[in-house]
């Protein structure tokens, strides 16, 4: 298993830039995940690593070896990357064992048998060797695809929306299973998804992409609590942006009051800014004196998500325990619990 280095790569299709100056690093054995809306270029990035798509600038290194650059392009079949495709791409004319065998045809017969047995055990499909793909369920096909991709002990495993064809209930549990398998084998892996729960369940590091750019690369905790871009703040978790005015290096004034922050390098005092407010920043307390009007509410089973109206007319979200049932139009007591406000340059529209 090798580490992956991507330096300043660019990929074009005809004259459109699909990937713009992307850099990222995955340590050996680390699991990364690319998150973003459809069409953001995340699948293209995966395909450049697999060698299915050339790059026009920068370079991609697997371990010590440069596999892609503006002048180097090692063919896909010589890269030893494993890839799990969105539609699994199992060979319909081969049974489970032969699908897995396809990439390890150069092993001895005995080694092949051994590897197939180990892998099927790993993905919990022992005894299904002679089944054909069309005889398996979606989840089983997915695991065969994973076993096939892992068979030749690839330098890196790439997964393109591997859970998107499955039932919603299955996705997270399967994502956790896959994480266990990858960690057990110590595999460097990069997955693409548009579903943040899958990303949180499987990845050590997550990258958020939009319009061909990698906006932020970090842990799920960092992405949620310290997003560096309004798009990231919007894409990961829920929240709204409200207007604020910078008071000083460490304080910003909003309709919620003065909030602690750290904006010394980026903003001048008195500058108009946008401030991110997450639903968990505002806590519902019946006894609180600070009362806000309920504009809307959504029952989520374990909790209520209230939309509250501030004095400024702006809306914020607030989460409360699910037995705190308040009517729309009534006022409820709230308390602010935010140690550190995330501040962005002033945005045109409020995001929700």
């Amino acid at each position: 298993m090798r580490e992956l280095h991507i330096n300043q790569i660019e990929s074009r299709h005809q004259n459109t830039v699909i990937l713009n100056q992307i850099s990222l690093h995955l340590a050996a054995g680390e699991i990364g995940c690319l998150l973003g809306p459809s069409g953001c270029g995340k699948t293209t990035l995966l395909r450049t690593i697999a060698g299915l798509q050339p790059i026009t600038q920068g370079n991609i290194c697997l371990g010590e070896q440069t596999v892609s650059s503006d002048c180097v392009h090692i063919e896909t079949e010589s890269r030893n990357v494993g890839m799990v495709f969105q539609d699994y791409a199992l060979f319909p004319h081969l049974n489970v064992a032969d699908n897995i065998r396809f990439g390890i045809a150069n092993f001895s017969k005995k080694q092949q048998q051994e590897r197939i047995r180990t892998l099927l055990e790993l993905v919990d499909l022992s005894g299904k060797e002679t089944r054909y793909p069309h005889e398996l369920s979606g989840g089983q096909q997915q695991r065969v695809a994973l076993a096939r991709a892992l068979a030749a002990k690839p330098q890196i495993l790439l997964m393109d929306e591997p859970f998107s064809g499955l039932d919603v209930e299955l996705r997270e549990s399967l994502a956790r299973q896959v994480r266990c398998i990858l960690k057990a084998e110590g595999i460097t892996a990069l997955m693409v998804t548009h579903n943040q729960n899958e990303a949180f369940a499987i990845a050590d590091s997550i990258g958020v992409m939009n319009a061909g750019e990698l906006l932020q690369w970090g842990s799920s905790y960092t992405l949620y609590h310290q997003p560096n871009h309004p798009f990231v703040a919007d894409f990961i978790g829920q929240g709204v942006l409200i207007k604020g005015t910078v008071c000083s290096c460490s304080q910003v004034h909003t309709a919620l009051g003065n909030l602690k922050t750290n904006v010394c390098d980026d903003f001048e005092p008195d500058e108009q800014v946008s401030v991110l407010v997450r639903p968990d920043d505002i806590i519902h307390r019946d006894e609180s004196d600070w009362q806000l009007e309920v504009i809307n509410r959504v029952f989520r089973g374990s909790h209520f998500l209230y939309t509250l109206k501030l004095d400024s007319g702006e809306h914020v979200l607030c989460m409360s325990q699910s037995h705190h049932d308040h009517e729309i139009g009534s006022k409820i007591g709230v308390k602010l619990e935010m140690d550190h406000a995330v501040v962005f340059p002033l945005q045109q529209e409020n995001t929700t």
Partner: protein
């Protein structure tokens, strides 16, 4: 829910039974003891028929695969010079009946023909000693069949290659397989069921052919059946020979059915990803262009030019009232048959749609069996019960009324149209059926909830939605009737000639140039369904 069997179902069953009577009568000859002719036949010619048929099938298999698969792969996977024309032009040889292409190459390659004359000029020899392969041979027949039947393989292989999910190819690449290994280990095996289905269709046409093997003097089942029937007038032996041929055909049908079923699994439920095809340039593009051009050149352009040349040469003397009578005979026969066939198909399919009953489904399927049965066999099978009926009626009339009724059915146009209907009903069933399947029962129901009565439903929903498939079905049956040779040859009324029969007779008399005009007309008409087919495919891919 079980449905009541009503009078429509009974009518459907009756039609299916009546239409297939010839087949059941023929099959009943299995139980008839064989006679001396059979004994003689099985000692002498039968082994020849079987061996020739097997060689033909083997040769045509190799020929159609060699022509069909590379072209299908190139067209489905790459962008290259001329592709936009080649992709449909590769279907053109379908318009060329095998017996007609056989006549043109006989003319082109015979001793006085343009090819040998040119060779003699080049080598400055007037002697006969110049060796030249004899086109009128088993090998020649294989080449002829391959040239006009490869489109079946091409068409099904191309669809299969184009529908293969691109990620399957990419998966193969990530697993370390290069382009060649990916083609042979992944793309080709996945397309194999589709290719086999196309191949079996080509082989069924090969077995059904009469005109080519008769002209080339290659004794096969069809020529044997014709010879036994016309030469010996031996009903039993003819029928038994026909049954033996049907055994071959049934085996091919079984393979075709099984392949299609397997092909469904192999395509899977995944939508093919939209792909941008790599563009070939320079000599690669030229090579791809040549590979695709060759089958069109030899399978259509050259023979068509030969026909055109003959036609122009004889036009002044042949374009007379006799020829127009011929055209009128052929076209009116094809027109009437197409109308009747489509009416029967519509009736059967609507009853099937209304009943939703397995019994009716199977009845309709049996009614469509005729397409698999070679024209010679159909003709013989129709003749046997019709002649029996004529004789019975005649005998009864003679004894009881003291008059002779003569031939009421056999040797009339009725017998001919009946045989065509049986043979081509499945063509109509298929294309009308695909149109009707688009009109879901829920559409009827929603139209009714919107206040439409049966008449409005028919006028505003069914007729507009069905019209294009009805027209397609009409054209397909029309052209099939026009091309059909052996059925017409055997069943036509005395002195009733059609274009195909005229072409056959002229060629049989070694007057190849005189066969040109009727043959050319058949080929030109045959182009219409080919154009429709390529349009349909274009639409599906858009």
């Amino acid at each position: 829910m079980t449905k009541r069997i009503n009078r429509w179902s009974i009518l459907t069953t009756l039609i299916a039974l009546l239409l297939t009577v010839p087949l059941w009568v023929l099959v009943s000859f299995v139980f008839e003891p064989t006679n001396d002719n059979w004994a003689h036949l099985s000692d002498t010619l039968l082994p020849v028929y079987i061996i020739n048929s097997l060689w033909l099938m083997l040769g045509v298999t190799i020929g159609t695969l060699l022509l069909g698969i590379p072209t299908a792969w190139l067209i489905s996977q790459y962008q290259f010079f001329g592709k936009s024309i080649l992709h449909w032009a590769l279907l053109l040889p379908m318009a060329m009946p095998a017996y007609i292409i056989a006549y043109t190459y006989t003319g082109l390659l015979e001793f006085e023909g343009p090819v040998q004359s040119a060779l003699r000029t080049v080598f400055e020899t007037q002697t006969v000693n110049l060796w030249f392969p004899e086109i009128r041979s088993l090998g020649g027949a294989i080449v002829m069949f391959s040239l006009v039947l490869y489109p079946y393989v091409y068409l099904l292989a191309r669809t299969s290659f184009a529908n293969q999910s691109q990620s399957v190819m990419h998966a193969s690449r990530t697993l370390g397989a290069g382009p060649y290994k990916t083609f042979f280990k992944v793309a080709l095996p996945i397309a194999r069921p589709a290719i086999i289905a196309g191949l079996t269709l080509a082989l069924m046409e090969t077995l059904a052919d009469f005109g080519t093997v008769q002209h080339f003097g290659v004794p096969t089942f069809t020529t044997g059946i014709y010879r036994t029937w016309t030469g010996f007038g031996d009903t039993t032996t003819t029928a038994q020979l026909s049954i033996l041929l049907l055994v071959f055909v049934t085996a091919l049908m079984a393979i075709e059915f099984w392949s299609r079923k397997k092909a469904q699994y192999f395509t899977g439920h995944n939508q093919p990803l939209r792909k941008t095809l790599p563009t070939l340039t320079g000599h690669q593009s030229l090579l791809a262009f040549s590979v695709c051009l060759l089958p069109i050149l030899f399978g259509f352009i050259i023979p068509a030019l030969q026909l055109l040349d003959w036609s122009i040469n004889v036009a002044s003397t042949q374009l007379n009232s006799e020829f127009f009578a011929l055209v009128w005979n052929s076209f009116s026969l094809a027109f009437v048959t197409a109308l009747i066939t489509i009416s029967i198909a519509l009736l059967l399919l609507y009853v099937k749609r209304a009943q939703q009953h397995t019994f009716i489904d199977n009845t309709v399927r049996i009614a469509g069996l005729g397409y698999a049965i070679p024209g010679v066999v159909i003709a013989v099978a129709v003749m046997i019960p019709f002649a029996w009926l004529d004789n019975t009626v005649d005998n009864w009339a003679r004894t009881h009324l003291d008059i002779s009724t003569g031939l009421l059915l056999s040797g009339t146009l009725f017998a001919l149209v009946f045989a065509y209907c049986f043979r081509f009903l499945s063509v109509a069933l298929q294309s009308v059926g695909s149109g009707l399947s688009q009109i879901k029962p829920s559409m009827d129901e929603s139209a009714k909830t919107l206040g439409a009565n049966n008449w409005t439903l028919l006028k505003r929903i069914h007729i507009p939605l069905l019209s294009s498939s009805l027209i397609t079905a009409f054209i397909l049956v029309f052209v099939e009737v026009l091309k059909e040779l052996p059925t017409t040859l055997i069943l036509r009324p005395f002195n009733f000639n059609t274009l195909s029969v005229r072409a056959y007779e002229m060629a049989a008399d070694e007057r190849l140039a005189d066969a040109g005009l009727p043959a050319l007309l058949i080929v030109i008409t045959g182009l219409i369904p080919v154009i429709i087919l390529s349009k349909l495919i274009g639409k599906r891919h858009a």
